[in-house]
Symmetry: C2
Subunit: 208 residues, 2 copies
């Protein structure tokens, strides 16, 4: 094993350090966040930091930097209080990555990348038509992360659109071809490995 | 597409709702968190909420409920201010899942599951010997998430141990066989899909 210290990380060139540090969590989610401003200008941005906070109510968090590319997303969410989370599948990974380019505010990543807006009558933010799992969120809170000036955007799940949900509540992410990611540039397919029964202290692990 | 509303989610049976809500982020990381209390009792618990917060300094967050299984982990981190994050690979997924069982405080998940402690002279929390990517963390902050009473544990990367890091800072998660997860019971292998050049607004996506 090779050991890398905090000093080694600090001494890395900036791009090397970002590549290294953004790989540390392991395989991460990758979702497109759909928003619109009060003038109707839509925006779409990839986030790899969507995290489950609770099930009742269903709450999800995601991390935003106060500056750079996520700025349009953050500004739009603060303005309209709604946003969508759209899974990325294998066939849309090129377009999804392209949404990370720094388009000017007046250019929508939807038209720039060929992805299509999908609107629901009762919901004021754009979904991604091509996505196979779409979540409409309502802003609940924005937390300041004092440690480095980032923010956690916290939202409540309002509606979910997907092809199928099993009777036990599970979503078949392999059938949806949802992808995983690492760093800011790398995407993975997923394959079934194991599903386990609820673990108990007095028995061995039991695969379902 | 089927549409599931917040009302539908609220009306689900509890286990169905948890299964559904914990599947929504898509493929998630899964890491084992190693801790020890002041008396030397070690603990190991799976977390699927590790998230990148920043690269300089390298900061990672993770979500903890104030109660239930993560309680030992949270209590130990607050007591000692250190903890380890250990990637799970394909060959250790049964043992990793078993760490989610509710063992009494005096039982270490290391001995209960057959995983082995690895200690470094300069670092006061146990790593998982079998893990192929191990991160030693120092507690930086604990944020209250008022929306549902959960907490975000924020730590600074102190040391990283792994087999290899590429010159550009990237970690080959496929070679490490790091797994992804969904819900609280399902694990995936990952396969290479694409790596892209930095996206620019004036050119098409370019695969590396």
């Amino acid at each position: 094993m090779r050991t890398i210290t905090a000093g080694d990380i600090h001494a890395m060139d900036k791009l090397v350090r970002v590549q290294f540090a953004t790989s540390l969590p392991g395989p991460k989610p990758i979702c497109l966040i759909g928003t619109v401003n009060a003038s109707g200008q839509t925006n779409l941005a990839p986030f790899s930091s969507v995290v489950h906070l609770g099930s009742n109510p269903a709450l999800l968090g995601m991390i935003s930097r106060p500056d750079v590319v996520e700025r349009h997303t953050l500004a739009n969410i603060l303005e309209t209080k709604v946003y969508t989370i759209n899974h990325v599948h294998v066939g849309m990974v090129d377009a999804a990555h392209q949404c990370s380019a720094r388009y000017p505010r007046e250019v929508s990543e939807f038209s720039a990348t060929g992805l299509h807006e999908h609107w629901e009558d009762s919901y004021a933010a754009p979904f991604v038509k091509e996505s196979r799992l779409r979540i409409g969120m309502v802003l609940e809170d924005v937390l300041d992360i004092a440690a480095n000036g980032t923010l956690m955007i916290i939202g409540r799940v309002s509606i979910v659109q997907t092809e199928s949900v099993a009777d036990d509540g599970s979503l078949d992410l392999c059938a949806l071809e949802s992808v995983a990611s690492t760093a800011l540039d790398t995407y993975f397919g997923i394959t079934p490995l194991a599903r386990f029964a609820y673990a108990k202290a007095d028995r061995q692990p039991r695969r379902l």
